[in-house]
């Protein structure tokens, strides 16, 4: 792998950048791998990367129906935070956030992790109490967060309207080391690092069947032929149900559309990420200058990657109320992604009824921020059979009534 640096760019510039090599190889699949990961999104690629890096398992293929990073990894609003309430969530998201801190250096690919800080606004008494509760929990979970008053909110976000006629801003939960990253770069950086370890990333290859023997997975059928494996990881977000069906089990998931939008780019005016859950909106400003805005999910099953416009309306009017200066900015582009939602809105990282087959899904609206932690835990689970990071997120929790419900602290998982 050719090392990336300013020096390398300068050297290449002298020969008009004709010397750059491929960021990742484009191989044909081998007959057999130790591990196959289905899905070359952030979670799948990170799982492969940590299998190689932490456990020396490098005979790995990552199979992707479309293009790597082309699903929700490249469609989300790139918020990274770990100020979750429940222990298992705080653990995995904080692990992820910590890994994000050093990811550019680790991957030798600038993923532009920007720990600019995340505020979750409290606009009702109920939210104040919810976030104060989260702050207390976070302190014990090793997640650095802090309750701040309205004056500090205004200092951090000068464009905010503290006293809207409907919901005045009463304070907020502040995570200073939360922030954003460049979503595509996360996928590309992991892909490049996996490829450099000798792993095969096989794009444009659809899995058409999962083969098993005596209750254990032995391989997959694909549009590029049959491939054998000892272990299989299914990491395909919205399409998990279809893959699980091939593997002979069912998942408690539903696929719905989630929407987002960006404004035209303007000069820097907002340095932190703001989430306003009472009015259902969140916003940050990208390095390009676009205001990046997250919307809500539809209530019905949908695989079209298009959502209903009224959610965009609700989000935008909430944000115009919260940040009145955006009223005369313009929406440049809106898009949708298909997210897989579980019964408690928390993910599933688990063994499955099929031996050697593992599932990572159900991230709903909040998966991007978890990518490194999810990959780390999933790799541990697949390599060793157990991971404290993933333990609580097992499939059987629904049967036991042991939910991981994050909505309780007035928070929603974005």
């Amino acid at each position: 792998m050719k090392h990336y640096s300013a020096f390398a760019v300068a050297r290449e510039a002298l020969r008009y950048h004709t010397g750059w090599e491929r960021a990742w190889r484009s191989p044909e699949p081998k007959k057999r791998y130790d591990v196959i990961i289905i899905g070359a999104g952030g979670h799948g690629l990170a799982t492969a990367y940590y299998l190689g890096k932490n456990y020396g398992i490098q005979n790995v293929a990552v199979i992707e129906k479309g293009w790597l990073g082309g699903g929700n990894t490249g469609r989300n609003t790139t918020i990274i935070r770990s100020n979750y309430l429940q222990d298992p969530s705080a653990a995995i998201y904080e692990k992820a956030r910590g890994l994000y801190e050093d990811l550019s250096q680790d991957l030798n690919y600038n993923i532009m992790f920007s720990p600019r800080g995340v505020i979750m606004l409290a606009q009702t008494q109920h939210e104040i109490r919810g976030y104060q509760r989260t702050a207390h929990a976070n302190a014990l979970q090793g997640v650095k967060t802090e309750w701040i008053g309205p004056e500090r909110v205004k200092e951090l976000v000068p464009i905010i309207n503290l006293d809207g006629p409907r919901y005045p801003v009463l304070g907020g939960l502040w995570q200073e080391r939360g922030g954003t990253a460049r979503h595509d770069a996360v996928a590309w950086g992991y892909a490049r690092a996996c490829s450099a370890m000798g792993m095969d990333i096989i794009q444009q290859c659809e899995v058409t069947g999962v083969r098993s023997q005596d209750g254990r997975v032995v391989g997959v059928d694909t549009t590029k032929g049959a491939i054998d494996c000892d272990k299989l990881g299914i990491v395909v977000a919205g399409h998990s149900g279809q893959l699980a069906e091939m593997a002979g089990f069912r998942l408690p998931l539903e696929a719905v559309a989630l929407q987002a939008l960006v404004s035209e780019p303007i000069k820097p005016c907002m340095d932190v990420v703001v989430m306003a859950n009472t009015v259902h909106g969140y916003m940050s400003q990208s390095d390009k200058g676009e205001m990046v805005i997250g919307g809500g999910t539809d209530g019905f099953n949908n695989f079209t990657q298009r959502g209903s416009f009224h959610h965009i309306e609700e989000t935008v009017r909430a944000l115009v109320e919260t940040f009145p200066m955006i009223s005369r900015l313009k929406m440049l582009r809106q898009w949708g992604g298909i997210v897989d939602m579980t019964g408690d809105r928390s993910p599933i990282l688990s063994k499955t009824p099929l031996g050697g087959c593992f599932i990572n899904c159900g991230w709903g609206t909040g998966g991007f921020k978890a990518i490194p932690g999810s990959g780390w835990g999933m790799a541990q689970l697949m390599a060793t059979g157990h991971s404290p990071l993933t333990e609580a997120f097992s499939l059987d929790r629904f049967k036991e009534g042991r939910f991981i419900d994050e909505s309780v602290a007035a928070g929603v998982a974005h």
């Binding site: 104060q132 929990a137 979970q141 009534g401």
Partner: protein
């Protein structure tokens, strides 16, 4: 030099001068000008700076596709960044500033980037800025952010001075685009009797046709447009809106129309924008086509313009973009520009035609004295802030043997691309047309509507028909087809006959010259705004970013504010070539709404300020407001948190209310509590399922406190249920619970037990409900009775605890419930809402001698906490079951089934390790922090401190003079008297003793008097 021509200018009124400013300089234009045409008329060639390299940028187009001429428009509360000059109608007093430069447009420090452009290829930032780690946040990123971004941000405190609105429209056929195709399609559809709505983004009808010329039915096309417009205007079933853009097509025939009402007349009364939410059975997209630039070195220098745009400026606005013009093309259409300019007196130096042989229009050009050079290409345009010289070479080859010509403007045409956005937004597929080198709608794969059939049809140029005659024939047929698909019988009228001039085929030219050397490719722009060049796309392909989505994201091609209207196809072609593939195999990126950016204000519509969201008000709302209410939003309701007197803090007010209610008399507006009537022969059976308690056995005249769980076992609501008669119960819900629980009941009744005879009605707002609470509660009510002859006996004997009566209290028809959420003597009294204020006033007046004070929700909370009563939303959070709260007594053992019963038997819910409700008292009497967690020994497998419980409610009790709290603690009820530790976020650790949650009047003597 760009100037105003002596003649021409069909859209301007030369008798009406308009004054405006650009970067503080006063300029003049005419009514009918766009800001772009007026700037050009004032020889303002450079109008902005590009995104990445801060290169000079001039007007390149004349419409919505413009990537360069973006300005900050207006001032103060009407300032708007990134407004396209080409679609901004000029008005007196307009102020515009150019963007993305410092300190000025002419002298921009950021332009240093252009000198380093070679070191800043596509994606350079992924390879650099990696070390040292802290530099990204503190050095690199702030620098990049300052350099990027386009328009100035509006002032942080600015408040939009304008208003916005929405409008719902319904039509059989919606035609998007008011060019000749749209007009003709509308007419053909309307002839069937179908209701037609025709929307056009610009201020005028006819689109490009009047500029391009030609005849229809042997008359000049502008006459034809005029007649057609006036004909449509007289038809009752046709509505026409100009300045209304089709912004997006969504599922099931939903279309957004973006109408700009006062952008051209700011300050005029009425909304600025109106967002149309249109439902159409069929949509005709007649959105025309957009000309493509040619990729040659220096094609981004101000003065290089689309050939059609140059023609528009001349014909529509009488503007001559240059005095010495070179036309570069791969098709015949650009010859029209050359001819038009020449006829207007402009010196057209030559036509550089990449094709080996020119078409029939070449002869006409030559006759006018224009030199035509077939097989030639532009090697390079020279000049910094405006075109100075043009180097011409052979199209074949690498760009050697150049001839340099002095010129000040270049018109370029790389062919046309149909505007397929409206077709594609909702899933319509495209097909590649090799002859014209463009994607056009594939009629066999349209977007599908609710009935599974296609609901969008493309007409005219947006369907790939580029010649006037073809456009009209196509549009006529499509209009009829749309009417038919909408369920109407099209009339068999004849299509107008448009002129069809002979043209030679265009030739796809994706790079000029064909094998341009790298130095040229690094200067050949694809995306003018984002500074993406041919070499960047080639680099992306080389590095493995092969998918069109990868290339787009890696290079930012097509991600600018024009969303690739000019750059996408050219970029795709370069990518396909680099991958040794074909354009249709590489495919397009996804077309997403909106077509051009639309204002956030319009999307929000009227929902701002006072009507941002509904605020639900009780009948006594205004009284509370006048009497110091500190408001608390509870759902959409507003409730009084406390009544703050002058000079008092909110905290003081709460303490005063708490003491007074226990000592004297308090009034609470309880109108927000939900009230549901449940009636029918099966109502008792039904309520037994809804509640965990037994409600069917409740005796008429009595009340019972009930709990509701979800099917998943968690507590969702509570409240007092009263039995009204044999078949009728009245169920109280929490504030904000009325609609939710009503819906919950209806859901089970309609979808599970639909054969049960039960009706439910929500009568919450029929009543104003007042809690009359405190030792003097009975006295004040009896005084009202004494004053006005009310007959209700409110004595302990006549109305015992947990019973209700109907009757008259004072002069009011009332229902009194003898229930208490405070542990005091308490009556909750419901009167008709229309009498609520009068009743409240009467109580307040009569209560003066008894020390009456109104109290708010915080006092209510403290009073109930002193009594150890749980509160839905405090003690519960969606994860708590009745067993956690010691409410086993409310879980009927006799009933076989109720919602939540099965769930409670799952292993985790029956787990003895669950945290249970207890009271908590700090050892020093201080108040425990809200939301604090109790810690046990050690850490868990993830290194987190082990937690053993948490605070659910915590208050200062003015009655007890100390902090009291409730919480859920592991094994709590078995650990009475033990001390547990709660680390605060303030660095302190709070120690609290586990106690009985009932802090006050444990035997309940106060309420039973």
């Amino acid at each position: 030099m760009s100037t105003r021509l002596a003649k021409q200018g069909r859209l301007i009124d030369r008798s009406k001068k308009v004054t405006f400013t650009f970067n503080g300089t006063s300029m003049q234009g005419y009514e009918g000008d766009t800001l772009a045409s007026a700037l050009l008329a004032n020889d303002q060639m450079m109008v902005g700076r590009s995104f990445k390299y801060h290169r000079p940028r001039g007007v390149v187009a004349s419409g919505a596709e413009e990537p360069n001429a973006l300005v900050g428009l207006g001032q103060g509360n009407r300032f708007e960044p990134n407004q396209r000059a080409t679609t901004t109608e000029l008005f007196n007093g307009l102020t515009a500033i150019s963007q993305n430069h410092w300190p000025s447009l002419e002298h921009d420090i950021g332009a240093v980037n252009t000198a380093f452009a070679r070191f800043l290829p596509a994606g350079f930032y992924y390879k650099t800025f990696i070390h040292p780690k802290p530099f990204w946040k503190h050095v690199y990123e702030p620098f990049i952010r300052q350099s990027a971004g386009l328009g100035k941000a509006p002032d942080k405190d600015s408040r939009d001075a304008d208003t916005y609105e929405h409008f719902y429209a319904f039509t059989d056929v919606l035609v998007i685009g008011g060019g000749v195709a749209g007009l003709q399609a509308a007419k053909a559809a309307a002839a069937s009797g179908a209701k037609v709505l025709l929307i056009e983004q610009s201020a005028y009808w006819g689109g490009r046709a009047p500029v391009d010329g030609g005849t229809v039915n042997d008359e000049p096309v502008d006459k034809f447009v005029e007649q057609l417009v006036s004909e449509l205007e007289t038809m009752d079933n046709v509505s026409m809106r100009s300045r209304c853009m089709g912004a997006g097509v969504y599922d099931h025939g939903y279309v957004l129309g973006y109408e700009r009402l006062t952008d051209h007349t700011p300050g005029v009364q009425g909304p600025r924008h109106r967002l149309w939410r249109i439902r159409a059975k069929q949509i005709v997209t007649a959105t025309g086509a957009i000309e493509r630039p040619l990729s040659f070195a220096g094609n981004d220098v101000p003065g290089v313009m689309l050939a059609s745009a140059m023609r528009d400026y001349a014909v529509n606005w009488g503007v001559n973009p240059g005095e010495r013009v070179i036309v570069a093309t791969n098709n015949d259409d650009a010859y029209r520009t050359a001819i038009t300019l020449k006829q207007a007196g402009v010196d057209v130096l030559r036509i550089v035609d990449a094709r080996a042989t020119a078409g029939p229009l070449a002869e006409e050009a030559r006759q006018l004295g224009i030199r035509v050079d077939p097989g030639k290409a532009i090697a390079k345009v020279k000049g910094g802030k405006r075109v100075k010289k043009v180097a011409i070479c052979n199209q074949e080859g690498v760009g050697g043997a150049r001839e340099e010509v002095e010129a000040d403007a270049v018109a370029m045409s790389g062919g046309w691309s149909p505007v397929v956005h409206m077709w594609s937004h909702c899933g319509g597929k495209l097909t590649w047309d090799d002859a014209n080198a463009f994607f056009r709608p594939d009629p066999s794969r349209p977007p599908l509507g609710a009935n599974g059939e296609g609901f969008v049809l493309a007409a005219g140029a947006s369907n790939g028909a580029l010649v006037l005659g073809d456009v009209l024939t196509d549009a006529h047929a499509v209009g009829k087809a749309a009417a038919k698909a909408a369920g109407f019988k099209p009339k068999n009228i004849k299509a107008p006959v448009g002129e069809t001039t002979a043209e030679a085929p265009m030739e796809a030219v994706w790079l000029m010259p064909a094998n341009a050397e790298i130095q040229l490719r690094m200067k050949s722009w694809l995306d003018f705004q984002n500074d993406v060049k041919v070499s960047d796309v080639q680099l992306a392909a080389r590095e493995g970013y092969e998918s069109v989505e990868h290339t787009k994201r890696y290079t930012t091609l097509g991600m600018a504010t024009d969303q690739g209207k000019l750059s996408n196809i050219n970029g795709l072609a370069i990518l396909a070539d680099a991958l040794e593939s074909e354009i249709p195999k590489v495919g397009t990126t996804t077309f997403r709404p909106p077509y051009t950016p639309i204002s956030m204000g319009a999307i929000g519509g009227e929902a701002r300020g006072e009507v941002f969201q509904p605020i639900r008000q009780t009948p006594m709302h205004n009284w509370h407001d006048r009497n110091g209410a500190d408001w608390e939003p509870v759902g959409h309701w507003r409730r009084t948190y406390a009544y703050v007197r002058p000079g008092e803090s909110v905290h003081d007010a709460v303490n005063r209310e708490v003491k007074n209610t226990r000592d004297n008399l308090g009034l609470l507006d309880a109108s927000t509590l939900g009230k549901l009537i449940v009636k029918g022969p099966d109502a008792g059976k039904f309520l037994d399922i809804m509640y965990t308690n037994m409600m069917s056995t409740l005796i008429v005249g009595k009340c019972r406190y009930g709990l509701m769980c979800s099917e998943n076992g968690f507590l969702i609501d509570d409240g007092v249920v009263a039995r009204i008669d044999k078949d009728t119960w009245l169920c109280h819900t929490t504030t904000g619970g009325a609609e939710r629980i009503h819906g919950h009941m209806e859901e089970w009744l309609q979808t599970e037990w639909w054969d049960w005879k039960v009706y439910v009605a929500n009568v919450t707002e029929q009543y104003a409900q007042v809690a009359v609470v405190g030792p003097n509660a009975r006295k004040v009510l009896e005084k009202l009775n004494a004053q006005a002859g009310g007959g209700m006996d409110l004595s302990k004997e006549a109305l015992p605890f947990m019973e209700w009566r109907d009757g008259k209290i004072g002069e009011f028809d009332a229902r009194a419930y003898r229930i208490s959420f405070s542990g005091e003597l308490s009556y909750e009294i419901a009167v008709p809402a229309s009498q609520g204020q009068a009743f409240w006033d009467a109580l307040f007046e009569a209560g003066q001698e008894f020390g009456v004070m109104p109290y708010g929700t915080e006092c209510l909370h403290i009073l109930r906490a002193e009594k150890g009563f749980i509160m839905i939303g405090d003690e519960t959070d969606g994860t708590v079951i009745p067993q956690d709260l010691g409410l086993h007594w409310a879980l009927s053992k006799k009933k076989e089934d109720y919602l939540g019963k099965r769930a409670h038997s799952r292993s985790h819910m029956a787990d003895p390790e669950r945290w249970k409700l207890v009271g908590l008292e700090t050892v020093d009497g201080s108040v425990l922090p809200d939301g604090a967690y109790a810690v046990g020994e050690g850490v868990n497998a993830n290194g987190q401190r082990n937690m053993i419980g948490r605070v659910t409610s915590t208050y200062f009790s003015a009655n007890l003079g100390k902090g009291i709290a409730m919480g859920l603690i592991k094994h709590g009820p078995d650990r009475m008297g033990e001390i547990v530790e709660f680390p605060g976020t303030d660095g302190k650790t709070y120690k609290a003793k586990i106690v009985d949650p009932i802090f006050f009047d444990k035997d309940g003597e106060k309420q039973n008097v």
